[in-house]
């Protein structure tokens, strides 16, 4: 591969190869503040390759490959190369990560305890997490929560947040421009802009935290809160996990411990301000 970039995110080190320079330049700028993996040893390899050899130059087309691939994945335009690299890393995590119980969830931390938020795509957990990260919480991750099955801790995976459409405007108003990637238009998911977590989040990417609260947020509904039973939480978490089915008894026991240790709430919210207020209330009550 002509070009190479190594990135460490939380406990995971990626080796990213590319047939084109541009995507790795963009990735390198977005991840400039992240450490490079020690010794050049990596956990996963991502490759950005031309779909066919001539597509490296003529109507460049980026196929996302690597250690783990999705066989029928559609290739992407070179202009979206940064997005392809991000998707490639996500794919390695989703298909190949077996060291920790992997949950599609956002994680934030305050005072040494963590709150984990999970729900369907578009439920707003990424944006909520991004906002909390600017409001005194440490953002541990917006897409993947890593549960250490031995210690019960949640581990940080603070990758760049993939903001979509309206959420981009919200965060641009609050956050230093230097933390953003380029604006990407016409992607399969609409307009996307990446934003990296703040310096504190990155500096502490090796620091886990015990979970204290589980949240199932749902955006776009009238404000409501209800407690969620343990069985329902269990089921929703197994659905939110790409690797639970492969982790056997260890996964079963550690998910049980997580649910046993934390109250779980479903919150519906019409806008992010009310969500943030709800969260603060509950977190305060917990700490008391």
């Amino acid at each position: 591969m002509r070009h190479r970039l190594d990135i460490q995110i939380g406990p995971v080190a990626f080796r990213i190869g590319s047939a084109w320079k541009a995507p790795l330049d963009a990735l390198g700028r977005l991840y400039a503040a992240y450490p490079a993996p020690a010794d050049g040893i990596c956990d996963f390899t991502v490759r950005l390759e031309p779909e066919k050899p001539w597509r490296r130059i003529f109507r460049p087309s980026v196929a996302i490959r690597g250690d783990y691939v999705l066989p029928d994945a559609a290739p992407m335009a070179l202009a979206h190369g940064l997005l392809a690299a991000e998707m490639g890393m996500n794919l390695q995590m989703a298909l190949g990560q077996k060291s920790w119980l992997l949950l599609h969830a956002s994680t934030v931390e305050k005072g040494g305890r963590a709150m984990i938020m999970t729900g369907e795509s578009g439920a707003g957990k990424s944006t909520l997490a991004a906002l909390l990260g600017e409001r005194g919480w440490r953002l541990m991750g917006d897409e993947f929560a890593l549960l250490d099955m031995d210690s019960g801790q949640l581990l940080p995976f603070p990758r760049a947040i993939s903001l979509k459409n309206g959420a981009i405007r919200v965060m641009e108003a609050k956050v230093d421009a230097a933390r953003f990637g380029p604006r990407l238009e016409g992607t399969p998911k609409g307009e996307i802009r990446h934003m990296r977590p703040n310096d504190d989040s990155l500096a502490r990417m090796g620091e886990g935290a015990m979970p204290a609260l589980i949240l199932f947020p749902r955006f776009g509904e009238a404000e409501a809160i209800r407690p969620v039973g343990a069985a329902e939480s269990f089921m929703r978490f197994t659905q939110a996990s790409t690797n639970y089915v492969n982790l056997g008894r260890r996964g079963f026991e550690s998910l049980n411990r997580l649910i046993d240790a934390c109250p779980a709430l479903a919150i519906d919210y019409p806008d992010t301000e009310s969500a943030l207020a709800l969260v603060d209330d509950f977190w305060g009550a917990l700490a008391a």
């Binding site: 591969m1 050049g40 040893i41 390899t45 490759r47 490959r65 690597g66 250690d67 190949g96 982790l247």
Partner: protein, 333 residues
């Protein structure tokens, strides 16, 4: 040393690896479905901490894979037990079920079983009743092609567990030139404690050789050859060597087995019967090159060579006229 060559070296001599391109070794192992095997081979070696953690995760994952593979076999057993049909496990699942050395770290995809040809319809019906379904794409032409000419039913997938089962009645397509003796395979099969069966040791090696050379374009060949190395080492004895030669001739697969012996010895230093195997040939070099055609990024290289093998695999499965028709119909879809 990089890519597939490094992988072969590490499998063969784990203590000789030293400091190497770890990311490349791991990418090659994953691409060749040999990560579990590698992780177990390297278990006693001092490696960097991150690599050790990766290998540990791979060993745990291999244990899960084994559990799942044996469970699929058990569910198939439950579905087919009332029929009183001999059900012979094959490939990775067979290694796990019989605890052969070849099962260590062995990944398993589909469940492969072999049953007598005349019982195929009953077996299919029983599996459908027990929750397996036809895979959606195997319709029309491909379905006919499967039933008439291949050595198996069209693939079935279980509706809730989402795992595939391939039911064979012999070990090569009916249109291929070697004609293995399916009844002899079944007659020599060995019963396991739970009533499922595996092929006899010689037949397992013969099947692996047939599968490696006559059935495909050598994709996944390094793993296949590693299976053969592990099997040969476990079974080796003067009597086994005699039986292997006899059975290979019976199944018209002696040249394939001989080539498997030569390549296994070449890559993995397997002790082999030199008289049966014969000398390493020019064609063997092409096979070797094809097997090693993967670089330190996990990419397959040597496209022309791979395409030649792809064509070859189809040519072996069916006579030229049928091949032309098959490829033309495929192109039209």
């Amino acid at each position: 040393m990089r890519g597939a060559r490094l992988l072969v070296r590490a499998l063969r001599d784990p203590d000789g690896v030293g400091d190497c391109d770890w990311a490349g070794l791991i990418s090659a192992a994953r691409a060749e479905q040999l990560m579990g095997s590698l992780a177990f081979r390297m278990e006693e070696q001092a490696v960097p901490a991150r690599v050790a953690a990766t290998f540990e995760a791979a060993r745990r994952d291999a244990a899960q894979t084994r559990t799942q593979a044996l469970w699929e076999a058990e569910m198939a057993r439950r579905a087919l037990a009332p029929l009183g049909v001999p059900v012979i496990l094959m490939k990775g699942t067979a290694f796990h079920a019989a605890n052969l050395d070849a099962c260590v770290g062995r990944s398993v995809g589909d469940l492969d079983v072999m049953v007598p040809r005349r019982r195929l319809d009953e077996v299919e019906a029983a599996l459908l009743r027990a929750g397996w379904e036809h895979v959606k794409d195997a319709q029309g032409y491909d379905d006919d092609y499967y039933r008439r000419w291949m050595h198996e039913l069209p693939p079935l997938i279980h509706r809730t567990r989402d795992r595939m089962i391939d039911v064979h009645h012999t070990i090569l397509p009916l249109t291929a030139r070697p004609r293995p003796d399916a009844e002899a395979l079944i007659a020599a099969s060995i019963a396991l404690e739970n009533g499922l069966r595996i092929l006899s040791p010689a037949d397992i090696v013969i099947h692996a050789s047939a599968h490696l050379f006559a059935d495909g374009d050598l994709a996944g060949g390094l793993r296949n050859l590693w299976d053969i190395d592990r099997l040969l080492r476990e079974f080796d004895s003067p009597e086994f060597r005699r039986t292997l030669l006899e059975r290979a001739r019976l199944h018209q697969l002696a040249p394939h087995v001989a080539r498997a012996l030569r390549l296994s010895n070449r890559l993995y230093a397997t002790p082999i019967d030199r008289i049966f195997a014969g000398r390493f040939t020019l064609a063997d070099r092409l096979f070797e090159a094809r097997l090693l055609a993967r670089n330190g990024w996990g990419q397959e290289r040597r496209k022309a060579l791979r395409f030649a093998f792809y064509l070859r695999s189809h040519w072996l499965r069916m006579p030229p006229l049928m091949l032309a028709r098959h490829l033309w119909i495929k192109a039209r879809r």
